[in-house]
């Protein structure tokens, strides 16, 4: 018998490197208790959370929790069915209505996760003979959507407008084209020049999908994302988003103004062949989304936090993923995986949780400590975080 698991040997070795002698395992952390959107007990220690996607701190919003409890009582724990059979409750229609209100768009389709939204929309919309042109740093769910479908897949260098245009121009005449972009790229926290890129895509006759997973709720005048911020949302055919970040629960969606959009509910397999979200989840999501429409003060505070942390870390001598703060993600670049893991552990011992990100999820083989800020982080917490980075950075020789 050939052990099919021998293909994982390299990964097992890498995991051992990270785990090292006596170290805490970065990929085995358990949060024993969650105290608030920004604090938890991790491995027995009180810890500030700086590596969640809880950008707007909605997870413990009292209105959100109340809506979830009420739906749990009235509709039960789960739907036990697909959206197209017995799994569409009033709450699912309501959260789709909330998304249409939030984005001011005609159609919204809710999936069980954002991963499945990308998987489903990309693999269904682009078919045999069509071309998908996408940024090389796209999220795994976008790549998997490409892999699942039958279209030709053509990547281009990250945020490179000219490289994208050249590839679009070479596509055979008559072929359908879908350009796939993200608003915020979650590894380095940088944003895309969507206005120029979408103009080029349109000029070449392509349809455009933008994943705004990491911008919803706080980028753009109404929190609709980077495309709104750059004034080009009306040229986007499909916006993909998630409930697992700013919305503070779980689920994914696509919003669109395409007149035939609703047919996707029949055609899209990751929508049809899986159970729908539980009633409590869609109720929390709908409440959260509607509150995010009026979250101007929280948004402003999140930006203050992001600017403060970025500026201070840079001043301390850390290498950062972006020259200026472009989103709520600040990526601190580590020299290698081993020192990255050591720094990660030193921070955890200080009482700070950040994300350790490594290849292949990261661009250019980088090891990153990804910090993501929350609108509920106080200015005091941000100052404490900076002190922790300074001590851990000096102790591990990173700065």
């Amino acid at each position: 018998m050939i052990d099919l698991f021998s293909r994982f040997d390299e990964m097992i070795a890498l995991r051992e490197t990270v785990r090292g002698a006596g170290r805490e395992d970065p990929f085995g952390l358990v949060m024993e208790r969650v105290l608030s959107p920004t604090e938890a007990i991790c491995n027995g220690r009180e810890t500030i959370l700086l590596g969640t996607y809880n950008y707007m701190g909605m997870t413990f919003d009292p209105d959100v929790i109340a809506a979830g409890k009420d739906a749990l009582d009235r509709f039960g724990a789960g739907t036990t069915g697909s959206r197209v059979l017995n799994g569409t409750y009033a709450g699912h229609k309501d959260v789709e209505a909330a998304l249409c209100e939030f984005y001011a768009m005609d159609h919204a389709m809710v999936f069980s996760t954002g991963y499945q939204a990308n998987l489903g929309i990309i693999s269904t919309v682009a078919g045999k003979g069509d071309y998908i042109v996408l940024d090389i740093d796209s999220h795994a769910s976008i790549w998997d959507g490409c892999k699942m479908g039958d279209a030709e897949v053509v990547p281009f260098r990250h945020n490179d407008i000219e490289a994208m245009e050249k590839r679009l121009k070479r596509i055979p005449e008559g072929a359908g084209k879908l350009v796939v972009l993200e608003g915020v790229y979650s590894m380095l926290g940088d944003i895309a020049p969507l206005k120029q890129m979408i103009a080029v895509a349109r000029a070449q006759g392509a349809m455009v999908l933008v994943d705004e997973a990491h911008s919803m709720g706080f980028i753009g005048p109404n929190g609709r994302g980077v495309a709104e911020d750059q004034g080009c949302l009306e040229d986007v055919d499909f916006v993909i988003g998630t409930f697992s970040k700013s919305v503070g629960t779980v689920g994914g969606f696509c919003v669109s103004n395409h007149p035939k959009f609703e047919i996707l509910r029949m055609a899209c397999r990751p929508y049809v062949f899986t159970a729908s979200l539980p009633p409590s989840v869609v109720a929390t999501a709908a409440t959260s989304i509607r509150k995010l429409m009026h979250a101007g003060a929280k948004r402003a505070h999140l930006w203050e936090n992001s600017r403060a942390l970025h500026g201070e870390l840079k001043a301390l001598g850390f290498r950062l993923g972006t020259q200026s703060p472009q989103s709520a993600i600040i990526a601190v670049i580590m020299p290698d995986l081993e020192r990255g893991a050591a720094m990660w552990e030193a921070l955890l011992r200080e009482g700070l949780y950040v994300n350790l990100a490594r290849p292949p999820a990261t661009p250019a083989g980088m090891t990153l400590l990804r910090c993501s800020l929350c609108a509920e982080h106080t200015a005091g917490q941000v100052q404490r975080i900076i002190g922790m980075f300074e001590r851990a950075g000096k102790a591990t020789g990173i700065i």
């Binding site: 897949v153 990547p155 260098r157 070479r170 083989g365």
Partner: protein, 81 residues
Amino acid sequence: MDRAATEARIATLVTPFNKKGAVITDASTFAGDLEFDSLTVMDFVAAIEDEFDIIISMNQQAEIETWGQLVDAVVKLTHTA
């Protein structure tokens, strides 16, 4: 353009990516003999695409493992273009 001329142009393009100066034959593999990682593949493919004004989609790349297969694919793509 014949196969030899196409191969010569690709050979010029591969030089900066062939860091170890491996001797290339039709049977040389990119992942094994040339030790190309995914980033190198992307940059090398982009260089070929720009040189010949073609697209080599990821789907087509999946079928290309050796130098000989690459040259054949480029010959074919430049003929149908």
